[in-house]
Symmetry: C2
Subunit: 165 residues, 2 copies
């Protein structure tokens, strides 16, 4: 059996910003992101789901150290475009499974979700690409999530780093 997943990645450096109920019309995404880009803020994830009733939420993640500045930039723009609120959360981690062989394999996603569910880890956001499935979870579940995903996909846990090396 080809092992579809070759590794697990954990990222804890980012905070999430969500602009709720943005009007779903052309130009809105541009309006929100241009000022963030102009401020040279590094954006990792951008997630927007399908709108319902003409509005949707737009979430993106930035380094925790840039959160304050990002909120200062985004809040006036959000008001401009008639969005409802700007929310943020710092205590998140992004855990991802990575694999060349897992392209479009719903079974792989299901197994990841099963590993989370078995430990009662709530999945806050999901985003995928052909080689990666990422789940955002609460930061406090980070190491546990990495361990259970290694188990779920038969991967060896890397040995702990020695101090001083």
């Amino acid at each position: 059996e080809i092992v579809p997943v070759s590794g697990v990645a954990l990222s804890r450096n980012d905070a999430r910003v969500t602009i709720t109920r943005v009007p779903d019309r052309p130009g809105v995404a541009l309006h929100l992101f241009q000022p963030v880009a102009d401020a040279n803020i590094v954006v990792d994830m951008i997630i927007q789901n399908t709108s319902i009733d003409g509005h949707t939420d737009l979430t993106f993640t930035v380094p925790k150290g840039d959160l304050k500045k990002t909120l200062e930039i985004v809040k006036p723009v959000a008001a401009d475009i008639g969005a409802e609120r700007v929310l943020s959360e710092e205590n998140i981690a992004k855990v991802s499974i990575v694999g060349v062989g897992m392209k479009n394999n719903a079974g792989v996603a299901a197994r990841m979700f099963e590993a989370m569910a078995a430990e009662n880890i709530n999945i806050l956001m999901i985003s995928t690409s052909e080689i990666k499935i990422s789940c955002v979870i609460e930061d406090r579940h980070g190491e546990l999530a990495v361990r259970v995903l290694h188990d779920a996909f038969g991967l060896d846990i890397p040995p702990p780093k020695k101090r001083g090396t």
Copy 2:
């Protein structure tokens, strides 16, 4: 200047399924995806944004030919977990910009959103990875989106395929 974007990809084979207002508690994602996986249905994108008031929407895409079967599988599960509705849409296309050099570059995302906005193309969903920014748009805008993204990022449009080759 390093060109951050090396290519544009268009995918028109998929339909989207959205389960609205799923309860945001552990096990829900598993519950929805396991039966889809068991039916060997190929899933491309999975998108879940942060929940508001304990509920969120879960969207995923499947080949258009599998939409009917997917809905038959998902509807009873959605009812089971107390979700609100199951919606679907076939007339979508996924246009992506791909590039090794664009990691976390908010300016690249902004430029993509600007290209869409300039043509009045509404961005229905957004999903990102380190090497790819994908926007789901209406299917009818597919070729236009590819053209304007090539222009926006200074890429040559590949020559049209000759008939008979």
